[in-house]
């Protein structure tokens, strides 16, 4: 198991390098001169040239790429923001916990709501409760997140004044953003839980558990649910991506000072170092969470763990034969 973790951690190195490479290429193809945004388009040419020299923009592409990578990797230096002239890394670290919290909470809430919903739907298939929850789930996956955010804001902040329309000061402020990010996932999870549970219920081992004289709901939860959860965990990477993306939009709608809003403001201001930094940070945290999810996956499904063990065994045996 330890070997697996180490292997996965090592794999993060090419992933991060790849991400840096993608982000660098994106900034290269961007039209417009960053110097214009820094010193103003009508500044005298000498000032512009001096600025360009200072930022190292006159070096050839590969030198700049190498410099960029070395700086990021060795000093965690993502450059300075063009608008505030503060280190991007510092600005991001203030905002990152908020985005992460928003994303994880929304996934957690979605799981808590949707898994029981999908479970009941599967057990009471074709009943009114199944039809109702599947209709809700279908709306959940079909409604545009940002529009759901706007509508809940209209109803709960403007009309009913239950929750603030902007900011996340206090618990009440979190409700609407979390709901907005989570709405799609509720639908998604409920649908996946239902279909995987339907498949599990027909398995022989469920009949075996019933043949033991076990209570029906214990059969469903103890023997069924854990097996049915496997596809949900397998899908969580997808979900995490959607939620992080959703968080970016939720932060702009509800004026939450997170990484997403920071990046979008930076895009509008052509403040490339901040955009790059945000992308790099989110991509790295995404990879780390995916690693944790994979470990969880191995814990839920013992078949995976031993598959990995078996692979290692074959490898070491082959090595022994070769030696």
């Amino acid at each position: 198991m330890l070997k697996y973790i180490v292997k996965r951690l090592l794999w993060m190195i090419p992933v991060i390098l790849g991400v840096l490479c993608i982000v660098f290429v994106l900034s290269e193809i961007t039209p417009g001169d960053p110097v214009d945004t820094l010193v103003g388009a009508d500044a005298p040419p000498e000032v512009k040239e001096a600025m360009r020299e200072k930022l190292g923009l006159n070096d050839p592409v590969y030198v700049r790429f190498a410099n960029y990578i070395v700086k990021v990797v060795t000093k965690a230096d993502l450059g300075n923001s063009y608008t505030t002239n503060q280190p991007v890394a510092k600005e991001l670290m203030v905002r990152f916990p908020i985005t992460l919290k928003l994303t994880l909470w929304s996934i957690f809430v979605a799981l808590v709501i949707s898994i029981p919903l999908g479970l009941i739907s599967a057990v009471k298939r074709y009943s009114w409760i199944d039809n109702l929850s599947m209709a809700l789930a279908l709306f959940g996956v079909s409604i545009p997140q940002f529009w759901f955010g706007l509508m809940t804001m209209l109803i709960f902040s403007v009309k009913l004044k239950w929750f603030p329309a902007s900011g996340i000061d206090g618990t009440a402020g979190w409700v609407l953003p979390v709901a907005m990010i989570g709405i799609g996932n509720v639908g998604n999870f409920a649908r996946i839980t239902r279909s995987s549970m339907l498949e599990v219920i027909q398995q022989d081992y469920i009949r075996t558990a019933r043949a033991k004289g076990q209570k029906e709901w214990i059969v469903i939860v103890k023997h069924g649910l854990r097996n049915a959860l496997i596809p949900i965990v397998a899908n969580v990477g997808n979900v995490l991506g959607i939620s992080l993306g959703g968080a970016v939009i939720a932060e702009t709608i509800f004026s939450v000072n997170g990484v997403g809003k920071y990046m979008l403001d930076a895009i509008n201001a052509r403040n490339w170092p901040s955009v790059q930094g945000g992308l790099v940070l989110l991509a790295i945290s995404f990879s780390i969470i995916m690693l944790l999810v994979d470990l969880l996956y191995a814990a839920i499904d013992p078949r995976l763990k031993s598959e990995f063990k078996a692979k290692n065994k074959i490898k070491s045996r082959r090595k022994a034969v070769e030696a």
Partner: protein, 303 residues
């Protein structure tokens, strides 16, 4: 035991394989179609989609007004007989803009998905067909691309390419390519394990022929389902990006972009926000209904 494989036998095998291919292709397809049209929700989804397409085609006959016909004295009128969905802050008829919006969301969502499946299809089928090192390299590169969440990737690409429909299409299709390549790779790998591929190889079909004639047609079912859902996702992505001001910009009557320009009116004229959102939802809902129906029809045991 071991008999020589004569040309005559190969001929018979070829005939058999041909027959097998034909039977496999037509009859399950017809069965699936029967199941699909028996599914009321799927049919509802199909009808909505057909209506939306008709609206898009005949938009200039349906819309009472133009896309950007600003009549300032008619600003912010709530829904009435003259303007059934009201007017926006520039005095434009919202209903007309909504009608013209069908010409944007559906085609863009469709084209983005086609491109993503084309790029992803090439990568995925090459990876699945060759297996081994080629597969490993392609899929690891896809891993790296997928470590940036698709919406962020699309935002990044769109921001660096600048606004415009073409750039937006490129951004969305590129950002979803890795996920689509996985779908196609998985579908082909499933098919590859079947015996009729073995028999195609036995009759000496070229690798391109094996891939195009045998694997892709048989992998078509799950790919079609994934395609439908992807169009739905693409439409949502287009409108989300338009909402944050990327890709499609005013005065183009894209529904997300309409919401973006009306978001300040939340307190003052909330009706300007209702209809564009409802339209996005109806379109995506129709695609999801159709996709669900397709999935159940192609794999009935899951229902």
């Amino acid at each position: 035991m071991a008999k020589l494989y004569t040309p005559a036998m190969a001929k018979i095998d070829k005939k058999k394989a041909k027959l097998k291919g034909r039977v496999r292709k037509s009859s399950p397809g017809r069965e699936a179609w029967k199941r699909l049209i028996r599914n009321k929700l799927a049919v509802a989804g199909m009808i909505i989609l057909v209506i939306l397409i008709l609206v898009a085609v005949f938009a200039n006959f349906i819309a009472p007004d133009g896309i950007d016909n600003q009549v300032l004295k008619n600003r912010l009128q709530p829904p009435s007989a003259a303007h059934i969905m009201g007017t926006d802050q520039f005095g434009r008829d919202i209903f007309s803009r909504i009608v013209y919006g069908t010409r944007i969301s559906l085609p863009i969502g469709f084209v983005c998905t086609v491109l993503a499946f084309a790029f992803g299809g090439i990568l995925g089928s090459v990876a699945a067909y060759n297996g081994g090192k080629v597969d490993n390299v392609i899929m690891r590169i896809m891993d790296i691309f997928q470590s940036i969440p698709p919406l962020l990737m699309a935002i990044g690409i769109a921001a660096s390419l600048g606004n415009g429909v073409l750039n937006l299409v490129l951004a969305i299709s590129l950002s979803t390519t890795p996920a689509r390549s996985r779908v196609i790779r998985a579908a082909i790998l499933t098919v590859k394990r079947n015996d009729y591929i073995e028999s195609a190889r036995a009759i000496g079909a070229s690798s391109r022929r094996q891939l195009l004639r045998y694997m892709l047609p048989n992998a078509l079912g799950p790919i079609m389902t994934a395609f439908t859902f992807s169009v739905a996702t693409a439409i949502l992505t287009v409108s989300s990006m338009a909402y944050i001001g990327l890709g499609i910009v005013p005065p183009t009557p894209e529904w997300g972009s309409m919401l973006s320009s009306s978001k300040e009116l939340l307190r003052q004229a909330p009706y300007t926000l209702y209809f564009p959102g409802i339209m996005i939802m109806i379109t995506v809902l129709a695609l999801n209904l159709f996709g669900d129906g397709l999935r159940d029809a192609l794999d009935p045991r899951l229902k």
